[in-house]
């Protein structure tokens, strides 16, 4: 079949083609729900006397507001508690499967879906959350929606949509040691800009993408939205199948064979045309870090803080000026000299087991810088359990980091994990907007290994800046 991967998945889900410029009616295979964007959707159903069409295609979890300590105590913040209580009541009333705080399968929606084997190649996934693009790493068409669309999917299991445009992002070559998926996506966003992907589904391809693990691919697709894109996708391959196989909801037996046979067809045709194409050389990439207040304001870690005059475009110059002021950075300062107060390791971008392993591999045998607070928050309760089975928790605690319960945590500071005004963080999350991690907080987006090296040196650093660890590590460093 001709066409791009995104077009194929779209075509497979058209319930009804729109005529005369009307949108298509698209079938949604899986909807993920959380406490922030679902309450009004359920209320709307109730008001109209409607019920969810497919309860077996909905899954709810609590993540944005949940505390990461004392999870057995009532939630102190009233708004947070109300949202969570409301989700629980709605799930019970309507019969939606929910994984609540304390449950083994609780966690950030975008970590839980793949972990349960619900996220599969070629399906459509939606959630009232922009980082739903994460699931595109499996070759699914996955995108964030608004609350009234959440209600629409609950009631009809469909959405009325106009097709997206497609953009190929080819990352050729091989990554140097210490350069990770996070650095690829930060470089992509710096290159095309925070609006560069607007209206597009980005398809990541090329040798450097093929060699990435599923975790790395999820990190990349996760941040597609930060380039303004509707979704990000990566064609499924053996790496994908291996990740899905054996998970609780993955197909089994003959179903598995049938599924894989279909999944193998899910790739853009050799002669497919994309509406836009971008090329990146992986060999040239270095660890990346953001210096500004949007994810496109990033540079290699070896660079210095830019000056507003470096930007020829008027808007970019003004944006840089404002960002530098908010971030309290002086042009010309080497980024590696920027002191950090907090290191946040977690979020749906980098809160998976492989991310925690990578982080731990750098910490092992080293000392935390005394002025730095380090918060390690697993993306899900399962990730937490697995990390403890592997002894990673001991590495974190021995290093002097805090080891927390699963949730979004300091990614957006809806729970008590927040930066104080003026505090500076190296964060493995996906948004460095003003106040995102706490009012007045300053965020530098980094990869897990850069976050770890920063926790050791107290300034933005990569592992190559560190001296030898004091004890040989038996943990495998992860590229």
């Amino acid at each position: 079949m001709a066409g791009t991967l995104a077009e194929k998945v779209w075509a497979d889900h058209v319930v009804r083609r729109g005529e005369n410029g009307e949108p298509d009616l698209l079938y949604i295979d899986l909807q993920l729900l959380h406490e922030v964007t679902s309450p009004q959707a359920f209320d709307g159903l109730r008001e109209e006397g409607r019920t969810p069409r497919r309860l077996d295609q909905q899954l709810a979890t609590e993540d944005h507001n949940t505390p990461t300590i004392d999870i057995d105590k009532p939630i102190a913040d009233i708004t947070s508690r109300t949202q969570i209580d409301t989700l629980r009541r709605n799930a019970e009333e309507f019969g939606v499967r929910i994984h609540s705080l304390g449950d083994l399968d609780q966690g950030i929606v975008h970590v839980v879906g793949p972990q349960l084997g619900l996220t599969m190649p070629g399906i459509t996934v939606v959630c009232g959350d922009s980082h739903t693009s994460t699931h595109g790493a499996f070759g699914a068409l996955a995108f964030g929606i608004g609350t009234s669309e959440v209600e629409h999917v609950l009631a009809t299991q469909t959405l009325s949509l106009n097709p997206f445009k497609t953009m190929a992002i080819t990352v050729d070559g091989a990554l140097k040691p210490g350069v990770t998926a996070k650095d690829i996506i930060l470089a992509v966003i710096a290159k095309i800009g925070t609006g560069g992907g607007s209206g597009y589904v980005l398809e990541y391809r090329g040798e450097a993408i093929r060699t990435l693990s599923m975790e790395g691919r999820m990190t990349i697709c996760n941040m597609s939205i930060e380039a303004g894109a509707r979704a990000g996708m990566i064609a499924p391959d053996e790496t994908t199948f291996e990740y899905v196989q054996g998970r609780p909801h993955a197909p089994r037996g003959a179903d598995w064979d049938a599924a894989v046979e279909h999944w193998r067809t899910l790739r853009s045709a050799d002669d497919a045309t994309f509406d836009a194409e971008v090329h990146i050389d992986a060999d040239e990439l270095e660890p990346f870090v953001t210096w500004g207040t949007n994810p496109g304001q990033g540079l290699p870690l070896s660079a210095s803080v830019p000056a507003p005059e470096d930007f020829t475009d008027d808007n970019a110059r003004v944006a840089a000026e404002n960002a530098l002021e908010y971030m309290d950075l002086v042009p010309g300062t080497p980024l590696k000299d920027v002191k950090v107060d907090t290191v946040f390791m977690g979020s749906c971008t980098n809160g998976r087991i492989e991310d925690l392993r990578a982080f731990a591999s750098v910490l092992e045998g080293r000392q935390k810088h005394p002025d730095v607070r380090v918060l390690v928050v697993p993306g899900s309760a399962r990730v937490r359990i697995q990390a403890e089975q592997e002894g990673l928790d001991k590495v974190f605690l021995g290093f002097g980091a805090e080891w927390r319960q699963a949730g979004c945590s300091m990614c957006l500071g809806m729970n008590p994990d927040q930066l104080a005004p003026g505090e500076r963080a190296a964060s493995t999350s996906n948004r460095n907007f003003e106040g995102r991690q706490g009012k007045g907080g300053r965020t530098h987006l980094v990869s897990p290994v850069v976050a770890a090296a920063t926790a050791v040196r107290g300034t933005l650093s990569s592992p190559s800046d560190l001296g030898a660890a004091s004890a040989p590590s038996d943990l495998q460093p992860v590229a």
């Binding site: 295979d29 499967r97 349960l116 599969m120 629409h152 609780p248 909801h249």
Partner: protein, 206 residues
């Protein structure tokens, strides 16, 4: 959603332009978890701080047809702005210009957003101000607003598609459910191995 053909109710002259969604309903109300009961948030700052604000005047307090200045509903795309108007009792808003997103949201929630010419807007304001409590009849079928003793008639614009939806009482979901058979047929073609969240499965071992 209720079907809309005609509605008659007190007209409220809101002589302000550029009323943005934050003025229609302040951001603090966004923390709520319900989709109804936003009437207290409507124009909250004006209703609390300005005794002369039009809705604070008894003759207009029970109004259901809002006649507002140009560029109504600009700013952030919060659907709460439409919910607040609807919950207060408004069935229609007339203005010489609406922000696109507001107009889209209004149509989806059963609130008529009709566009008047600036001259007509001025005339209608005069009628409503000279005789507070004057009723306005919104005739959606003919896209006309009738007001006052003299029976003044004003033409307003609503696009064909939105008008049809309002007259049929179809919200987005209702509209989609007209194709329910197509959805059912589509579902019958889905392979059995597609993801199902129920019955719930979890990892065998911790």
């Amino acid at each position: 959603m209720e079907a809309f053909t005609t509605h008659t109710g007190i007209g409220v002259p809101l002589r302000r332009s550029n009323v943005d969604t934050d003025q229609i309903i302040p951001a603090v109300y966004l923390k709520r978890v319900t989709k109804t009961g936003f009437d207290d948030g409507l124009f909250n700052a004006w209703r609390t701080n300005d005794p002369d604000f039009v809705l604070n005047r008894p003759a207009y307090a029970k109004g259901s047809v809002l006649v507002a200045g140009p560029d109504f509903g600009t700013g952030s795309s919060r659907e709460h702005a439409v919910w607040a108007l609807r919950d207060y009792g408004f069935k229609a808003v007339l203005s010489s210009r609406f922000a696109d997103i507001f107009r889209g949201n209004a149509g989806k929630q059963g609130l008529v957003a009709g566009v008047l010419s600036e001259d007509d807007l001025e005339q209608l304001w005069k009628i409503l101000e000279e005789a507070p409590g004057t009723e306005v009849t919104i005739d959606l079928e003919n896209r006309q607003a009738h007001a006052g003793e003299a029976g003044a008639v004003f033409r307003f614009d609503v696009d064909d598609y939105t008008r049809w939806r309002l007259m049929e009482g179809l919200d987005d979901i209702g509209l989609t459910l007209r194709h329910e058979q197509d959805i059912t047929d589509f579902e019958a073609t889905r392979p059995g191995w597609m993801p199902k969240t129920l019955p719930a499965r979890t990892m065998d071992t911790v």
